[in-house]
């Protein structure tokens, strides 16, 4: 789960990590008032749950009230990668001498939290990783030690030559780790962390994402969730025990299992078609799940054909076949359906479907090719 910059900075501020003075605004009038209050220069920043807002023109410097007004008019309502900007952050301009990167994330390979730091802050860390990987320092954190003061000093002295700054960083980095743990984050990032002209550390920007598996114990974080249109559909699916992601093609997919669902999409593409969605209905033959899944698929008007790919494991294919028939009796499907059923008791399952006059095939590749020809 993602949150906005202003929300991330509110969390940082709660842990006494210094952040810029700023005001969240929804209208041009609010931006004007905020700019007048904070003084000039100030920065107007789009608050959207996607990256690359700077390149899209969603961040503008204002030296006068007229600048701030123009920036607000340009940014509010702007479309950034499909996200409409509904709020902006007006932040006090800060004069600084250097930009640093500091972030925490999960490292799959060391199976630990890793602290990433770089003297090359202010640009996207992925770009630094690509162009100059040695410029990123990585410190795997032992969960038993946490960021003890000595660990924080190791990181701080790798970043700062000045002891005053290093001392500030030692305190800040320990707090940053605490934020990560307390919130079950998957990313906590300050980029840039600036050294101000008067020699202090300040978080100019903040970014956080959270572990979806841990949201059950993070009610305060969960309350910040602002799902977009696609995510609302994904959450609705989750509520029904399904895992759904909309794509741009015209072949609707219904599959049991995430890996098989991905492989099904790949297969469609391999034969020249375009999948309309990822949909994992899990491992049950419950007809209601099939009904819910079918309704989800059909809610996408681009879908021209539905491909059902079921591998019977623990669930037997004859049970799945009965579930499919009962589901298809409940809803009117006006577009063609292709069913592939294989695995445990597939013979019995195929017999049941054949008697019901449903189009069945035995392999995934046949199913994909037939679906493409019908789309």
């Amino acid at each position: 789960m993602k949150i906005h910059e202003y929300q991330a900075k509110e969390i940082l501020a709660r842990y006494e990590i210094p952040v810029t003075k700023e005001v969240l605004c929804y209208t041009v009038a609010e931006v004007k008032a905020a700019a007048e209050k904070l003084g000039y220069p100030c920065v107007v920043k789009a608050q959207v749950l996607t990256g690359g807002r700077g390149k899209a023109g969603g961040v503008k410097l204002a030296r006068t009230l007229a600048d701030a007004t123009a920036a607000a008019e340009a940014i509010l309502g702007m479309d950034i990668k499909g996200f409409k900007v509904e709020k902006v952050l007006v932040a006090q301009g800060v004069s600084f001498v250097n930009e640093i990167y500091a972030g925490l994330t999960i490292d799959r390979n060391t199976k630990s939290v890793v602290f990433m730091a770089s003297r090359e802050g202010g640009v996207e860390i992925e770009e630094v990783a690509k162009d100059n990987p040695d410029a990123i320092l990585k410190f795997a954190i032992d969960p038993d030690l946490g960021i003890s003061p000595f660990v924080a000093r190791k990181i701080a002295y790798a970043l700062f030559d000045d002891s005053k700054l290093a001392n500030q960083a030692v305190v800040m980095f320990q707090k940053l780790y605490q934020v990560f743990l307390d919130a079950d984050a998957s990313l906590v990032e300050i980029n840039p962390l600036v050294i101000t002209s008067d020699g202090n550390l300040l978080a100019l920007d903040g970014k956080m994402t959270f572990d979806d598996n841990a949201l059950f114990r993070q009610p305060e974080i969960l309350a910040l969730n602002e799902p977009d249109e696609d995510e609302i559909k994904e959450l609705y699916a989750k509520d029904k025990g399904l895992s759904y992601i909309r794509l741009d093609g015209n072949i609707g997919c219904m599959v049991n299992g995430a890996g098989l669902a991905m492989a099904t999409m790949d297969m469609i593409k391999l034969y020249g078609g375009e999948p309309a969605n990822f949909l994992d209905i899990g491992g049950s033959s419950n007809p209601q799940k099939v009904v819910d899944a079918m309704n989800l698929i059909l809610s996408d008007k681009n879908v021209k054909v539905v491909m059902i790919n079921i591998f019977g494991g623990i669930t037997r294919c004859d049970d799945v076949a009965k579930g499919l028939i009962s589901a298809l009796e409940q809803i009117q499907v006006k577009i063609p359906i292709v069913i592939r059923l294989s695995g445990t008791n597939s013979k019995e399952g195929l017999e049941i479907l054949k008697n019901a006059n449903l189009p069945i095939v035995e392999t995934m590749s046949e199913a994909a090719q037939m679906a493409i020809s019908l789309a």
Binding site: I106, I245, L247, G257, A258, G259, P275, G283, F311, G313
Partner: protein, 290 residues
Amino acid sequence: MSILVNKNTKLLVQGITGRDGGFHTQKMIDYGTNVVGGISPGKGGQEVHGVPVFNTVADAVKKTGANTSIIFVPAAYAADAALEASEAGIDLVIIISEGVPTLDMVRITPYLKKNGTKLIGANCPGLMSPGEALVGILPVSIFKKGNIGLMSRSGTLTYEMVYQLTSSGLGQSTCVGIGGDPVAGLYYEELLQMFQDDPETHAIVLMGEIGGDAEERAAEYIRKHVTKPVVSFIAGQTAPPGKRMGHAGAIISSGTGTAAEKIAAFESAGVQVAKQPSEIPGMLKKLLNL
């Protein structure tokens, strides 16, 4: 031979009185797995499918000599259950539960390592050594004893693969579902080495998917340490970036973790990558001169 589980496995089921725990206990017993006990705090003294239930893992280990434990408890309690098994001296722990918080996995990893406990999962279907033991939720009817070792991040894709191997006459030594979470227990490198050392495994199938760089690391490991033939399939070639494809770990973030990178890494290490799972039996037969 096989890897990790066999006829000497003495299995505990943590969460045996739950719906899934009870159901799969019966399936494992039916297959012939030696299930020696179950754990359900407060229900010690009861029996489930003829298996004695204990309040704690320590108690169960003392009374049964168990060496392996499979965990079916709700995700919020799974990490603690794994610690309990490790503390009680269990050698191999398998977490089936889906939805375990990542930081829970991070927290338990050093302790298990210190105790020498091997972990598989979470969010996995467990493992199966045909003719030896089922420790998991895999459908036994599709398996056949043989010489192919298989590891996979996905459950149903594993079943699909096994079904096709068996249909083509290729049996399996051991099939391991390593799970779909970003931080998991035993992974490709450890399992590749085990299969490499197992005389009964003649070739290895690696079923990867998008997210992380474990496949790239596996490719490097194969280049250096694995002499047996390895073939692979990578799911998620058409997955959009930034979206979790059902599995918590299956996500392309900041342009890394793509199927294309993984396929390229395997191919440069001499590992054949199938365009679809159905190509794999043929590739194996060619490599094994069958």
